[in-house]
């Protein structure tokens, strides 16, 4: 299956091989640096996220791509925020429905709820947790692009697909010049 590719790699000397590997690494690191740059620019840990649930319908559907930003101004009621609950990996995108500012410290006590949910998010927070705070918030939603995120969802549902795709891309990069 890969005979030709292996032959191609074996024909190269070590500098050419290093160059091919570098080409491959360059693509990964460029993508990484663009992502990190975007994160710094928007001041959000992950500036682009994919909606995984229908809890914000009809605003956002499964597979929508959301663009986040974290401005310096405080969070306000009505903002749609992406937040992470400590100890859980998957961030949640819901709307802020109740908010208290502490006068002295400026600390914010935030309660969220999904537009399509019957109840607020206290059931989703950690046991005993009544509020989330600004440091839990990854970003406010700035814009969205429908459907595109389906690819990500598919790859998350079928991780094999992801590995096969990455493997083929990597091999393609390694055995093609320019």
């Amino acid at each position: 299956m890969f005979e030709e590719e292996i032959r191609f790699l074996r024909k190269m000397n070590k500098r050419q091989l290093a160059q091919q590997i570098l080409n491959f690494l360059m693509i990964i690191s460029s993508a990484l640096m663009v992502w990190k740059g975007l994160a710094l620019y928007t001041n959000s840990e992950s500036p682009i996220v994919v909606v995984l649930s229908g809890s914000m319908e009809p605003a956002f559907y499964r597979g929508d791509l959301l663009f986040l930003g974290m401005p310096d101004e405080p969070v306000r009621v009505g903002d749609i925020c992406v937040f992470k609950i400590p100890g859980r990996d998957v961030p949640i995108v819901h709307r802020v429905i109740k908010l208290h500012d502490e006068k002295e410290t400026g600390k914010q006590y935030i309660l969220t709820k999904g537009d399509n949910n019957q109840v607020d998010d206290r059931g989703l927070y950690n046991p005993g947790q009544l509020w989330i705070h600004r440091e839990h918030i990854v970003g406010k939603v700035r814009g969205f692009l429908p459907y595109i995120g389906i690819i990500t969802i598919l790859m998350n549902d079928y991780p094999q697909l992801k590995y096969v795709l990455i493997g083929f891309l990597g091999l393609y990069m390694l055995v093609n010049r320019e």
């Binding site: 690494l25 360059m26 990484l32 740059g37």
Partner: protein
């Protein structure tokens, strides 16, 4: 895993007796490329030129250009991957400074890389030198193709430092050689190595002796 034999396609199209069975008979496997792909053709020729000057013409290859590019490239990737990893293990706000440093380093190194190949490397594919009775000869080969053109241009540049009594005489010569890829590749994309070598040798002789070639 053993490589048993070549594919039948090669042996049927290329039934030429093994003529150049000298010391490198094992490495002299046929070079086959997709002859409708100019990049492939150029790469095959570029690679063979390097092999030719090292193995046949006995030049010592000077890899400075490649090494500089590799070092810059791997350094840039190192910064990028480290930045990514560091950002992964530290909270976002604490990792900000490090991320900025990594991004700047990455882009600076990449810019240097591009500038280096633009300013210094240009189209150079081979730099090598050889010593002949205390005279040092340096050869630089540049190659290029015009877009959509089958003409392969080889530019030889030759600098000889010849010792004459006490002084060193520097001899400079330059020679450009252009031919269609069709001269060296057949319809199946098999490279006629001997023909290509003959042409390369001719160029080398011209540049060494300084004689102009006869116009045809």
């Amino acid at each position: 895993m053993e490589e048993i034999e070549e594919t039948p396609l090669i042996s049927s199209t290329e039934e030429r007796p093994p003529k150049t069975e000298k010391k490198l008979d094992e490495k002299e496997e046929p070079i086959i490329v997709n002859n409708s792909n100019l990049v492939d053709l150029k790469n095959a020729c570029d690679d063979y030129i390097q092999k030719f000057f090292v193995n046949k013409a006995e030049f010592r290859q000077n890899n400075t250009h490649t090494d500089v590019k590799l070092v810059l490239g791997y350094l840039a990737c190192g910064f990028a991957l480290f930045g990514g990893y560091y950002g992964h293990i530290t909270p976002f706000n604490e990792a900000k400074e490090m991320t900025i440093i990594c991004i700047i380093a990455y882009f600076v190194l990449n810019t240097l890389l591009v500038l280096y190949s633009y300013i210094f490397e240009k189209e150079i594919i081979f730099v090598g030198d050889c010593m002949e009775n205390d005279n040092k000869y340096t050869i630089t080969i540049q190659t290029n193709t015009k877009r959509y053109s089958d003409i392969y241009n080889i530019v030889y540049e030759y600098v000889g430092k010849e010792k004459q009594d006490s002084s060193i005489k520097i001899r400079n010569s330059k020679y450009t050689f252009s031919k269609s890829f069709g001269n060296w590749f057949d319809v199946n994309g098999v490279m006629d190595i001997e023909k290509f070598e003959t042409d390369l040798f001719e160029g080398l002789e011209i540049i060494k002796t300084g004689n102009k070639p006869h116009e045809q």
